[in-house]
């Protein structure tokens, strides 16, 4: 939350630039109580911020507030002027009776040349899907297609809602690799929402643990040792917390112990409310 400077030119040293997105003391209240309470966070250019939290922690509310779809009851949302946001939703829910191909889906609202579509699909390794019906592709393929749709907007900020939910382990690895490559190539900011407490992708700069209020935040290593994080997810979950590194078939926990991918994946699916 550095002070907001007047110039909006993004220099390479992004720490000095104003954040792409900042939430200041955001609360959203419904009859049942607070959905999220007093959330403050920022996403910088070139930064990957991962928000983890159990089901019902207010993650989707946070996404909607960030996208401007929900007005917060208190606090305010600030973005750089004319910020281009690419949004990758968790899923699409289209009826079997709706005939639509991936290629058509990508240009439903904006026209793009066939070449442009192929190029963007190539970027997410999905160029072979351009004529496939949207309902016929797998969960991992759909996530990559949704990513391609977001990239077509040449986003400065990408908001990814559970990009690996329901995707198998190798598919998850592919998506994490892609996300990191996109950040490295396009230097965009990324807000990544995840309920998967065991795997936080390697490229993450900052982890925020959400349970309606902001439990803790910091580097992945810092968060996993935070008492509130351990209290929320239980000691066993906290120690299984692993950082996914895409160039290796394993990753390391905080003590340097090697975690193989099956170990990373074999815990509960993170829906445990400690």
């Amino acid at each position: 939350m550095g002070s907001l400077s007047d110039h909006h030119v993004m220099d390479s040293e992004h720490k000095n630039a104003p954040p792409l997105l900042s939430l200041h003391g955001i609360s959203v209240q419904r009859q049942s109580g607070f959905l999220i309470e007093n959330i403050t966070l920022t996403v910088q250019q070139g930064e990957i911020l991962t928000v983890v939290g159990p089901n019902g922690a207010g993650k989707s509310t946070l996404v909607k507030v960030s996208l401007g779809l929900i007005e917060p009851d208190t606090g305010h949302v600030e973005t750089t002027p004319n910020l281009k946001i690419g949004y990758v939703p968790q899923n699409v829910d289209i009826d079997e009776t709706f005939p639509i191909t991936v290629g058509r889906f990508l240009q439903l609202n904006d026209k793009h040349s066939h070449y442009e579509l192929l190029r963007i699909l190539e970027q997410v390794n999905a160029e072979n899907l351009i004529y496939s019906p949207l309902q016929a592709i797998s969960g991992g393929e759909l996530r990559r297609v949704l990513l391609a749709r977001a990239l077509l907007k040449k986003p400065e900020l990408l908001i990814l809602d559970e990009p690996t939910a329901g995707v198998d382990v190798s598919g998850q690895a592919e998506i994490f690799t892609l996300i990191q490559a996109i950040r490295d190539q396009q230097n965009c900011g990324i807000l990544l929402i995840s309920h998967d407490l065991h795997i936080v992708m390697a490229g993450t700069d900052k982890v925020v643990c959400l349970n309606r209020h902001l439990c803790c935040s910091g580097t992945p290593e810092h968060v996993q040792q935070h008492p509130e994080f351990i209290a929320l997810f239980g000691q066993s979950h906290a120690t299984k917390f692993a950082i996914y590194a895409h160039h290796h078939d394993h990753s390391h926990d905080s003590r340097g112990r090697i975690l193989h991918s099956h170990e990373i994946d074999n815990g509960d699916d993170g829906e445990n409310h400690g």
Binding site: L67, I94, F98
Partner: protein, 268 residues
């Protein structure tokens, strides 16, 4: 509905032109109903239309107009219920629609001087439509097509993924209200052709039959029109040749075409 003094050919031509008009309207709207899984909504809305029929007699206005008013009213109520209770469940939908249907029947029953054939409203009476009815159908049709052209793409976006559409700046309420308005018009003008019990069949069966031949939404809308028009022509032919009721014969024809569509290889 004076049929006196008119030739047999005249009423057939009116029925054919009117029926084809309704089939053209129902094609794309039926696809949208099917894609949004709104079959029950469509059925409920059309059942409520009987209240419109009753009010038409009561206020002595054109039934197409009073049906339109009642349908719009019911749609707005449902939208409001959805807004304040998260979603209008099948149950609330059924209560509202059939409550309206019951009130309609009661009003009709309370008008002792009125002797109407309820069957003709439930199952349609296309052979008695006059040129004024035909003009209503085509006026409604032109209105529907013009508005549909405007909301087609944003509505498709909303159907595929609501949040993505909202992020793209699509105004959900405006688009949905417009769609319900179009659905209300189509119910008002279809009522005389197939009757309130079968309106929804003319919407969804051609769309379902067209699905297997279509690879894009627009293709499916056009094929639905083709199936609908064919069903209307076949139904009228059946009605003339075998003296069957026209509306149900059209729906029967559409169902047969749907059955045959399974013989075709699925394209997408």
């Amino acid at each position: 509905m004076g049929m006196m003094g008119k030739t047999m050919d005249d009423f057939l031509i009116r029925a054919l032109i009117g029926g084809i008009g309704v089939a053209i309207i129902s094609g794309p709207l039926g696809c949208l109903v099917v894609w949004q899984r709104m079959t029950y909504f469509g059925a409920a809305l059309s059942h409520a239309a009987l209240l419109g029929v009753a009010l038409g007699f009561f206020l002595e206005i054109n039934p197409a107009l009073s049906i339109l008013l009642v349908s719009i009213l019911v749609s707005c109520l449902l939208l409001l219920m959805e807004r304040y209770h998260q979603l209008a469940s099948d149950t609330t939908l059924g209560i509202l629609a059939h409550g309206a249907l019951a009130i309609g029947v009661i009003i009709l029953g309370l008008m002792p001087t009125l002797r109407i054939d309820l069957m003709s409203y439930l199952f349609g009476d296309i052979l008695t439509i006059d040129w004024k009815d035909v003009i209503w159908i085509y006026l409604g049709g032109v209105t529907i097509m013009l508005i549909l052209a405007l909301i087609w793409r944003p509505l498709l976006s909303l159907i595929i993924q609501k949040e993505l559409a909202l992020v793209d700046g699509i105004k959900e309420t405006r688009i949905r209200v417009a769609f319900l308005f179009l659905l209300s018009i189509s119910i008002a003008v279809s009522m005389q052709v197939v009757g309130i019990l079968l309106i929804v069949s003319l919407l969804i069966i051609p769309a379902a039959a067209a699905r297997r031949f279509s690879t894009s939404p627009e293709q499916m809308a056009i094929f639905s029109i083709v199936v609908g028009v064919t069903s209307v022509v076949l139904g009228l032919w059946m009605s003339l040749g075998f003296d069957t009721p026209a509306g149900p014969s059209m729906v029967f024809s559409a169902s047969v075409i749907f059955g045959f569509s399974f013989l075709a290889k699925k394209r997408n």
